[in-house]
Symmetry: C2
Subunit: 282 residues, 2 copies
Amino acid sequence: MSIKTTRREFFKAACAGITIGALSGVSCAKPEPVTVKEGYKRLNLGMASYTFRKFSLEDTLVMTNRLGLKHIAFKNFHLELNSTEDVIKAVAEKTRNAGLDLYGCGVVYMTTEDEVHQAFNYAKTAGMRVIIGVPNHELLPLVNTKVQEYDIKLAVHNHGPGDELFPSPQSVYEKIKDLDKRIGLCIDIGHTQRLGIDPSVELEKYADRIYDIHIKDVSAASNEGSAIEGGRGVIDLPKILRTLLKINYTGVAALEYEKDESDPLPGSAETIGCFRGILSVI
Amino acid sequence: MSIKTTRREFFKAACAGITIGALSGVSCAKPEPVTVKEGYKRLNLGMASYTFRKFSLEDTLVMTNRLGLKHIAFKNFHLELNSTEDVIKAVAEKTRNAGLDLYGCGVVYMTTEDEVHQAFNYAKTAGMRVIIGVPNHELLPLVNTKVQEYDIKLAVHNHGPGDELFPSPQSVYEKIKDLDKRIGLCIDIGHTQRLGIDPSVELEKYADRIYDIHIKDVSAASNEGSAIEGGRGVIDLPKILRTLLKINYTGVAALEYEKDESDPLPGSAETIGCFRGILSVI
């Protein structure tokens, strides 16, 4: 934690009540802002490579770097789940050589026992720390043994209206709360908002079990909501980011920009810029 | 001014001193944030088309719209200064039909009397309200008669280290302060920062004569500083934006993104996103 952040925390605490402020003589003026550059280091922003689903692995690495992101989770387009061990290792090395942290994969659907085994072997071979996944409910006991065997986290992803397995963060939590602590949530703030649920409330509610987050914006808080550049939609992004700082979230908040699949870089850049701008002043 | 902005101002005033806060019983908690969408409406962000100097007029209009910007000032690449009246009118109409406000042109260098006459005729024919320009010092008396004759503003642009005519906002102000009030400044925050001068201080100092602003970021506060994505450089962008809201700036703050001339859209988008994100929480 930087000195400035410490000072910020101090001011926040001091300004929580008038009495404390009056006693200590601390003004309630906001502390000096951190610079944008400092600000965006307060959260690990990353890339969910589904954003670049129409692009090659090489293009995906270049574009992720161009956005100044350091962490990436691969969708199968960039490394097929049934790849050989050699291919997985080579791609992981290529990604590391590009300066990126290949921290996870997803969304990985697991509908059979074989797919569970495959997903964990794949993640282990690639050196990934988190599988962002959707296991069928009946496979959760097997998944529970796998996270223990491999010491790899599973973050169950919620997909909003129409998802029969895991529409909401709550639907995930109810199924995993009594399982190994390495099974948790990937809260997708867009799909959550499309359910009419405030994603910030969910982030705080399940704070201790959140292992990944898909950040984005959507055009409406309903099933009709569609992907849109960050800041142009209905999600209260400042509240999202304040919540993540409040719960001291240390995982990755990964951009999944679903719009403009044939030209996703500008919208991704606008969204990341918006998140960074907000992070510099909250 | 929106109701939320009014409320924000109230909180700011109430929280300026503990005593007022204690007396009024107003908590020093921050007011609810405006949404990002509401936030960025608090300032007229626009495009300085020099950003798209390697692209056609048509591409420039499409990219400006894609960024969600409403105001554009043309560099000569997109409408040559010696164009016929018919061409100027046709391009202006095309721009309006694309949903954009063609509010100005620049940077227009004026080194002869003919170039002064040309610039004002061009701007008038296109329906522009501001010429962002650099007249030779000896042409300022002529410019003074032209702004009166045409009722079009001239915003003199400062170009930082190495500019012998107008390096700093102060160098502009000293030459124009006693001229018609329609002659003012276009403060380029990047070139100002590269002089080692805080552009926010200059914005406040010359608030009543600022008719355009070039927004951007630079990598260093020296002659060696170069263009960089907004938020990644050294300019205190939150301070810039707080200052513009404080001085109630009603002109356009136009993005001049000088990096990546062959592919400027992603960096432009990141920069605009950063400005919008900040605007939503200050």
